[in-house]
């Protein structure tokens, strides 16, 4: 008997809210994404339309916005499992849309309990909104080997300057969450009108995330800046969202491979009954299950009363592992499907490009050094 590919989350991570939302996202995917997925890279309006429906009609954009402002007002206690389930479902449909949402959600969560949150809540309630994360850039070495945007206090305001490439959506974001060197490491929220954009860059995947280089030259209120460990919270939630997104992507690769393998025979018997092919298939599902296990563990850790630093460090491990798994699932599935996996119409190659893009954007070479610093006390910076 064939087991189902889906593997439910452990019981303590299930919640009615999470399941209800996951169901809505599943229906959204079936209607807005899956029928058009082969064209999504060429017809940008498909991703735009689907993203808008997910952000506004389903309300993912306002997940943490208070109910009084028209949001869902999901609390910290419910957030991790809601994000886990939601992003799993989005990952099965389109990782690019999920990537843009990951940035928005992690930036909004990192501001909860501050004046920035009020500003963001108003923006997120007013209509479609995208938030681009402007992380530390290649350049000088003022933050863990990277360069932060420069922030200088002038009276009640802060002058902000920076140049580089956002993680996502630089070309069409409404707000930029800019990592800057104000009072240590801070995150400043800048309206798009203070940002000069280059031409849109062409990328490997994640087509919903329209990116470009940006020049930031802004003067903002001090109330628009998050200090302390807020940046760490932002990355922790971003890592959770991306981990879950990658779980969904890995499962979708499994599904695509399973559907294809069912019809495929080789040497007179089903392909999946040949041991060499069965071993590859097994590795594809193994990657998905491993990613699922790690993403769930991160979710559970985030629900416990733990040291923020510890949670952040584990979130890095989870994002690295899950993005590895999403890529490996697609890559090994393609190994069997060959030209049919490589062709756009097969849908696998989109997961393959998107998963690789997420992994590359995580900057694994740097994250490994961070882990060495976190767990072994390496003095690298």
């Amino acid at each position: 008997m064939m087991m189902k590919l889906e593997f439910e989350n452990i019981s303590e991570l299930r919640s009615d809210v999470a399941e209800m939302l996951a169901k809505s996202i599943h229906e959204w995917a079936e209607k807005e994404v899956i029928p058009y997925r082969a064209q999504i890279d060429d017809e940008v309006e498909i991703a735009d339309r689907a993203l808008k429906k997910l952000f506004l009609d389903i309300g993912m954009q306002k997940l943490v916005v208070p109910e009084a402002k028209g949001g869902a007002g999901i609390s910290f206690e419910d957030l991790p499992q809601v994000l886990l389930r939601s992003f799993e479902e989005i990952g099965k449909a389109d990782a690019g849309i999920g990537f843009v949402l990951s940035a928005l959600i992690s930036a909004s969560i990192s501001s909860m309990g501050t004046e920035v949150f009020d500003y963001l809540s108003d923006k997120l309630s007013a209509g479609l909104c995208k938030i681009a994360i402007f992380p530390p850039q290649f350049g000088k070495s003022d933050f863990k080997g990277f360069e932060l945007a420069k922030a200088v206090a002038v009276g009640d305001k802060i002058k902000l300057k920076g140049f580089g490439r956002p993680l996502n959506s630089g070309y069409d974001a409404d707000i930029f969450a800019v990592f800057c060197n104000y009072s240590g490491i801070s995150v400043a929220f800048v309206d798009a009108e203070n940002v000069e954009r280059s031409e849109q860059i062409k990328s490997t995947g994640l087509v919903a995330s329209k990116n470009c280089d940006v020049r930031i030259n802004a003067e903002i209120e001090k109330t628009r800046i998050l200090t302390g460990d807020a940046w760490k919270k932002l990355y922790t939630y971003l890592n959770l969202c991306l981990s879950a997104l990658c779980v969904g992507s890995a499962y979708d690769s499994c599904r695509i491979l399973r559907d294809w393998a069912e019809k495929r025979t080789i040497r007179g018997k089903p392909l999946r009954d040949n041991t060499v092919d069965a071993a590859v298939i097994a590795n594809v599902i193994r990657e998905a299950l491993e990613a699922k296990a790690v993403a769930q563990m991160l979710t559970k850790i985030m629900l416990e009363d733990r040291d923020d630093e510890e949670v952040y460090a584990f979130s890095v491990v989870a994002a690295l592992k899950c993005s590895d798994s999403a890529f490996n699932s697609a890559d090994r599935a393609m190994e069997l499907m060959a030209s049919q996996g490589y062709a756009r119409e097969g849908l696998l190659e989109k997961q393959w490009r998107d998963a690789k893009s997420i992994r590359t954007l995580l900057n694994p070479s740097h994250l490994l050094l961070e882990l060495s610093a976190n767990y072994f006390g390496s003095k690298l910076w």
Binding site: G145, K202, I266, R267, M334, Y342, T360
Partner: protein, 417 residues
């Protein structure tokens, strides 16, 4: 910086061809390469580059014997080395163009490479390639159901081939459906078609390799597929419906077709490894430049030990792969030492080479992207294009699994795989 090139293996013609390909690549590929992906269907920028190389630089005539106007590469004692070099140099610029060129030469190998030169068929088809007009060929091999089983001759002996060739008087009547040949989708002027004369019967005598001009009645080609990469390589379905060709268009005849067809496997493995090697070298060149420019931890990216370690791994892969590619190429050049190019031994060695070099190439491209962070996925940095393109090199010709089985069968004397 130059990776290992064994000078004793290098022929004067190979060096000359490398020079002209570099000249061509810099002038006709690099200025347009970043737009190739958008040009996958129309080939508005790709075709002029191909035409320049094939017609003006003369590559389409290279394999044919000199008496028919060709360069006589098929009779050269450096046949393998030159093929590898041509694929490496073109692959440095674009592996899609490399495969398009390689596959044009491929079907010709069966009839124009010593010791099996079919002068009658050379006289028939060489003039097509001597025209001052872009002329391409394709190898119609893979089928919808059997996939790459067709290449698995030693085990299946053509049992799974469904494209049939029936003799009707002095003509072969061909019926069947082929999938995904390079240079299909309206590109090729001539197909080498793998057929069976007795479907379902595992006997190499039934294996027929028949040349089919693309403009004959009954040859139908589908629209090209959209793919992850390899824009310069058009692929589509091809249907042969009661296509009639003269009896003499069969390459050699019973038993010999299967025998000499195997040169397609050994040279296909060599060509794949050669173009993958070229792609790796270009990735190295890009990394050299970008890792010198981008700064991390206060110094150029390449001056950080963690990054340098990855760069070293990449250089080591290229260094070893180049040695392996040219060692195998030279072995193909010396059948007196190493056996025929179509022998099981040389095919197994070729499969091992393809398996190893293609894996290395995919890994190099992946790691290069990771090193560059968000520039790794930027199409202006070119590394990601190589990453998308080279994946299919690993997958074609039966992919990793068929390579593994051929290697295991030969090196471990497996009888029941």
């Amino acid at each position: 910086m130059e990776f290992a090139r064994i000078r004793e293996f290098e022929s004067p013609l190979e060096r000359y061809m490398a020079e002209i390909i570099r000249d061509w690549g810099e002038k006709y590929v690099i200025p347009h390469r970043r737009n190739f992906d958008e040009d996958w269907k129309e080939h508005r920028t790709i075709e002029p580059a191909l035409e320049k190389l094939m017609v003006d630089y003369g590559i389409q005539t290279a394999v044919w014997p000199e008496e028919f106007g060709g360069w006589g590469l098929g009779s050269s004692d450096y046949f393998g080395s030159i093929c590898a070099r041509v694929m490496e140099e073109i692959g440095r610029y674009d592996t899609g163009i490399a495969v398009s060129v390689g596959v044009t030469l491929w079907p010709i190998f069966v009839i124009a490479v010593k010791p099996h030169i079919n002068y009658d068929l050379c006289a028939e088809f060489a003039p097509l390639f001597m025209r001052k007009k872009l002329t391409m060929a394709a190898n119609a091999m893979t089928e919808p159901q059997g996939g790459s089983d067709i290449e698995n001759l030693d085990e299946l002996k053509g049992k799974t081939i469904r494209t049939t060739a029936k003799l009707d008087g002095d003509e072969w009547v061909i019926n069947g459906h082929k999938l995904w040949p390079t240079n299909s989708g309206g590109v090729a002027d001539l197909f080498g078609v793998v057929c069976t004369t007795n479907p379902g019967v595992p006997d190499e005598k039934n294996f027929a390799y028949i040349y089919v001009p693309a403009d004959l009645p009954g040859v139908k080609q589908g629209e090209p597929y959209r793919k992850a990469g390899m824009a310069a390589d058009k692929n589509s379905d091809i249907w042969f419906e009661n296509v009639r060709v003269p009896k003499r268009y069969r390459a050699w005849g019973e038993g010999l077709d299967a025998k000499y067809f195997r040169i397609i496997i050994s040279t296909g493995c060599l060509g794949s490894a050669g173009m993958a090697l070229g792609a790796m070298e270009n990735i190295y060149e890009i990394l050299f430049e970008k890792c010198s420019e981008l700064r991390y931890r206060g110094r150029p990216l390449k001056e950080n030990t963690a990054v340098a370690a990855v760069l070293a791994d990449i250089a080591a892969e290229i260094e070893i792969c180049r040695s392996a590619v040219y060692t195998y190429a030279r072995m193909l050049d010396r059948p007196d030492y190493y056996g025929d190019r179509f022998s099981a031994e040389m095919i197994a060695r070729g499969r091992a080479l393809k398996l190893k070099v293609c894996d290395a190439c995919c890994r190099v491209a992946e790691r290069a992207m990771d090193l560059l962070g968000h520039y790794g996925i930027d199409r202006n940095y070119d590394v990601e294009k190589h990453w998308r393109d080279v994946k299919i090199i690993q997958l074609w010709m039966g992919g990793r699994q068929l390579c593994q089985m051929d290697v295991a069968r030969y090196f471990y004397d497996c009888k029941q795989l």
